[in-house]
């Protein structure tokens, strides 16, 4: 433990700043922060819990109401409160105390240690009750957090590749440009052929619910439908139609890029829609769990 908190943390400020600068230049993320300091602390904590659980013979049988269970439960409840405080901490811009990166690193690794602390607190007695509900919610929150860490580690690269130096608004602007051209190019077409083009123009690129966002599949895409309809059309102004078809192809490519972008962003964000609401459900269940124990003492 001594090496995990070197003296420089406590006093020698200038050297600490220097270390921080080195870290910034190396783009050290929250996972690798301070040479996995919090991973080591959290791993040690888990190991301590597992080993002591196997060594301590709790009478009459391990459960949350034994002294060991109380200890783990108290530690777990305090940890949950502290982990929830990340939402508060990240909204407070401050140079004091811990950097947000250090806080996040501790949040991730100590959150993972709750898998062991919370589960071992149960003494492996689970049932259909508020106590197990609190445990299950905690597990869901942790699992969603693990998903979040995983996508943060892997998806930004894919997001960057897909954008190819474009900003989001540039992607949208490209689609708008194709729309204008399509509109102009389709003028010579007859009513039967303009209808699918109009539908393609009327299509909202941000339409489609959460399912379309996460899967990236848009089976009712009007642009693709217009492409098919015009490719099958006969007669009329063939030259104009060929131009429209070419434009539709280009718009489809631009749409596909935007949709890939939307999908990656959805994957990056969706876990928070589980993590945050379930955290509050967990806090409620935890309160009910603790109060119920003392209510029916």
């Amino acid at each position: 433990m001594a090496s995990l908190f070197p003296k420089r943390l406590l006093g020698r400020r200038s050297k600490a700043t220097q270390t921080e600068r080195v870290r910034e230049s190396k783009h050290e993320g929250f996972l690798r922060y301070a040479d996995f300091r919090w991973a080591k602390i959290s791993g040690g904590l888990c190991l301590l819990v597992i080993v002591s659980y196997s060594l301590i013979d709790v009478q009459p049988r391990p459960n949350g109401g034994s002294w060991y269970g109380y200890t783990l439960g108290t530690i777990g409840a305090l940890l949950i409160l502290w982990l929830t405080a990340l939402g508060y901490r990240k909204r407070r811009m401050t140079r004091d105390y811990w950097s947000l990166k250090a806080w996040t690193s501790a949040h991730v690794y100590l959150g993972l240690s709750l898998l062991v602390i919370g589960t071992w607190h149960t003494g492996f007695q689970l049932g259909w009750n508020v106590h197990t509900l609190a445990w299950a919610l905690m597990m869901l929150v942790i699992l969603s957090g693990m998903f979040g860490v995983a996508v943060y580690a892997t998806l930004p690269a894919a997001l960057s590749n897909n954008r190819e130096q474009m900003t989001q608004m540039q992607m949208l602007e490209a689609i708008r440009a194709f729309d204008r051209q399509l509109h102009a190019a389709a003028q010579p077409l007859g009513p039967a052929e303009t209808a699918p083009v109009l539908a393609a123009l009327d299509e909202d690129p941000f339409a489609g619910g959460i399912r379309a966002r996460l899967s990236g599949r848009y089976p009712k895409c009007a642009t693709a439908a217009a492409h098919r309809a015009l490719a099958a059309a006969q007669g009329g102004d063939a030259e104009a139609r060929a131009k429209v078809i070419a434009l539709l192809t280009q718009k489809e490519a631009a749409l596909a890029r935007l949709r890939r972008h939307l999908r990656l962003r959805a994957l990056l964000e969706i876990w928070l829609y589980v993590h945050v609401p379930l955290t509050f459900a967990l806090l409620a269940a935890l309160s009910a769990h603790i109060i119920s124990v003392f209510f029916y003492w």
């Binding site: 301590i56 013979d57 709790v58 009478q59 009459p60 049988r61 949350g64 109401g65 034994s66 002294w67 109380y70 007695q125 049932g127 259909w128 009750n129 508020v130 106590h131 509900l133 989001q168 708008r176 729309d179 204008r180 399509l182 509109h183 389709a186 003028q187 077409l189 009513p191 303009t194 109009l198 123009l201 009327d202 909202d204 690129p205 941000f206 489609g208 619910g209 959460i210 966002r213 939307l262 962003r265 964000e269 969706i270 829609y273 945050v276 609401p277 379930l278 955290t279 509050f280 459900a281 806090l283 409620a284 269940a285 309160s287 009910a288 109060i291 119920s292 209510f295 029916y296 003492w297």
Partner: protein, 641 residues
């Protein structure tokens, strides 16, 4: 009158540039086709969409062609007449046609009002590109989930408790506080699973003994005699100081008002369905381990020795014995030499259990008549009580008389025996025997028996007969003396007091102790799979009846280990033995309570398949063996039975 097409363009700075273009004729066309007078570049407009005409220069008729109409005041029309003085707004696809009148002219203004495409509409970048547009807000989810959980799992249960606060018994059905059940109740309490308040009467007050004895009116109401007799100060002094974990638990208990020493301290609930778990040994050893020193230092006199675990720290047994012939029975004090128990008999077990020698020969000669084998076995003389727990005292007529006959005469096929247990009667019977009947006619007097001539003269025969008769009275006294003296039938087994002044022959009373171990419970029935000599190891070598043959701690420990398997020596088939296996807390001296599941079944469990021809035997004939225990075969489950 003329139609004037007015176009208004807005510059980036917001300036408007108005261009008017007169259109020739009373009738003009509007459409997407460039040949129209009013050319609307809108895919939603037909190539020749409508004709705008006026006959009087004031009223304008708009007629749609090619099927698609136009919108006027929210309705789709194909034809409309409009007073240009009043003006109107018409809608063709994404464009608006405004009709107005300025002087003599009808002003037509066409402008695009819809965006060219859906994508061209303004978007809020932060919202459109994130999930915020397609998901309900995180805050909404957070607060609604939290509220739901609190409602269902906190407010609901408290409401359920509040509703039935002053009700003796809740109605059947689901109650919201069922969600608080921390674990299934034991089978005895299973019916209370919907009625938390049966035990948890007051909120934030730990379950009280009052709730238990409300139903448990009879049994288990009192503490053990030994513990009830001790003062509270003594009981507190006996308790071991808590370790680190105990301090944590005590801290919680203290902080949250959870008193110690309640029924539920030992009888823990919510530990799972099925019978309530037997009380673990820690509830005894918390005090009894190292108790003597604590009691002594607190100024109390310890009454019992320390016991921490049967496998490692248990005091020696203190069987109830008579330390000298005729002494009062007292519990033996261990560590003071060999313990003797004088029951008044002379019985060398060694002689009787020996594999060869007179006893074995005699037993072998009785095979077929009694259930003897080639030698005597324990169960040939010792029988269990009806309940199987203890061994019944030996009864002479039943258990000894097979060999130790007290018969002295056969009259007409009936054997006369001396009366056992009544020495006065024995004396009287012997005197009567020699006085009342003539001597048995010697066999050689039989008249039909062939004899060598001259061998038995008549005088000789009479001599035999009359000599017998002459000596009879004095022989009766001799016979009595002989029976009570060394070599005599009584003396062989009993301690005899010779006649003294005023007394005749006396036999010392026999006291067979029915239960040697008064404080612990030993059940022979539970041990019937074990041979007697496996535990009573001293029996085959015992030469004195006063040898105490009750097994000691060492014999028990060859199988019985501590609750958690602790043991001093290696044990082959270990039986975990918590305190409650032998000691009962509530009813001193009674049989310890055991959950039904753990009770031994009255059969011998045989898990190995029996040898091939075991089941081929249909019937066993011959005399019934008087075995100690009937052995029943139980087919193991793995054979599908």
């Amino acid at each position: 009158m003329s139609f004037i097409l007015r176009r208004i363009a807005t510059t980036k700075t917001g300036k408007q540039i108005v261009r008017d273009q007169p259109l020739a004729g009373d009738s003009i066309t509007l459409g997407r086709d460039s040949g129209n007078a009013i050319h609307v570049a809108d895919l939603a407009v037909n190539p020749h969409h409508a004709t705008i005409s006026s006959t009087d220069g004031r009223h304008v008729r708009i007629a749609a062609q090619e099927g698609l109409g136009f919108d006027l005041n929210g309705r789709t029309l194909d034809i409309a007449d409009i007073d240009s003085a009043a003006g109107a707004e018409l809608r063709f696809g994404g464009h608006r046609l405004t009709i107005a009148r300025e002087g003599e002219d009808v002003i037509l203004r066409v402008e695009r009002i819809d965006e060219l495409s859906q994508a061209s509409k303004d978007v809020d970048e932060a919202r459109a590109f994130s999930l915020a547009g397609v998901m309900p807000g995180k805050r909404v989810g957070a607060w609604s989930f939290a509220a739901l959980v609190l409602l269902a799992f906190l407010i609901g249960p408290i409401w359920a408790w509040h509703s039935y606060r002053s009700v003796d018994e809740r109605p059947q059905g689901y109650h919201a506080d069922r969600a608080w059940l921390s674990g299934p109740l034991s089978s005895a309490h299973a019916s209370l699973k919907n009625d938390c308040q049966a035990c948890h009467v007051e909120p934030f007050v730990a379950v009280t003994d009052k709730a238990c004895v409300g139903c448990h009116t009879g049994e288990h109401k009192a503490m053990s005699q030994a513990h009830a007799g001790a003062s509270t100060a003594m009981l507190l002094a006996a308790r071991a100081p808590p370790g680190a974990g105990g301090k944590v638990l005590a801290g919680f208990a203290q902080a949250f008002n959870k008193p110690q020493g309640r029924c539920v301290g030992c009888h823990t609930e919510h530990e799972g369905a099925g019978p309530m778990a037997a009380t673990p040994q820690a509830f005894c050893t918390d005090c009894h381990e190292g108790m003597a020193a604590r009691l002594t230092s607190a100024g109390f006199k310890p009454g019992v020795a320390d016991a921490g675990d049967f496998g490692t720290s248990h005091p020696d047994f203190r069987p109830l014995v008579r330390a000298a012939p005729g002494a009062q029975p007292l519990r033996a004090t261990p560590g003071k030499g060999a313990v003797s128990d004088f029951d008044g008999l002379k019985f060398p077990h060694e002689l009787h259990l020996s594999a060869n020698g007179g006893v074995a020969r005699m037993a072998a000669s009785f095979r077929g008549r009694y259930d003897f084998g080639k030698k005597l076995e324990c169960e040939n003389c010792h029988r269990p009580e009806a309940d199987g727990v203890r061994i019944a005292p030996v009864v002479m007529e039943r258990d000894c008389a097979m060999c130790h006959s007290l018969a002295f005469e056969t009259v007409g096929g009936v054997t006369r025996t001396l009366r056992h247990g009544e020495p006065d009667q024995v004396v009287a019977d012997l005197y009567a025997y020699y006085r009342s009947t003539g001597p048995t006619r010697p066999l050689q007097l039989g008249g039909m028996v062939r004899r060598r001539p001259g061998q038995y003269a008549a005088g000789q025969v009479y001599n035999i007969y009359f000599r017998e008769t002459a000596v009879r009275p004095s022989r009766a006294a001799d016979a009595v003396r002989a029976v009570f003296s060394k070599g005599g039938a009584c003396y062989d087994c009993h301690t005899i007091h010779a006649p003294q002044s005023g007394n005749d022959w006396r036999v010392m009373p026999v006291h067979q102790t029915p239960r040697f171990l008064q404080k612990g419970w030993f059940d022979h029935d539970a041990h019937k799979e074990t041979a007697c000599a496996d535990c009573h190891i001293a029996a085959p070598k015992s030469k004195q009846a006063s040898d105490l043959l009750v097994p000691g701690l060492t014999q028990c420990r060859t199988c019985h280990v501590g609750e958690s398997g602790a043991t001093l020596a290696k044990v082959e088939t270990a039986t975990a033995s918590p305190c409650a296996m032998c000691h009962e807390y509530h009813s001193d001296g009674g049989k310890p309570w055991v959950p039904a599941r753990q009770r031994k079944k009255p059969v011998t469990a045989i898990t190995e398949p029996p040898p091939g021809r075991t089941y081929a035997v249909r019937e066993i004939t011959g005399p019934n063996r008087r075995g100690l225990y009937a052995v029943a075969w139980r087919r193991p489950a793995k054979w599908g039975g």
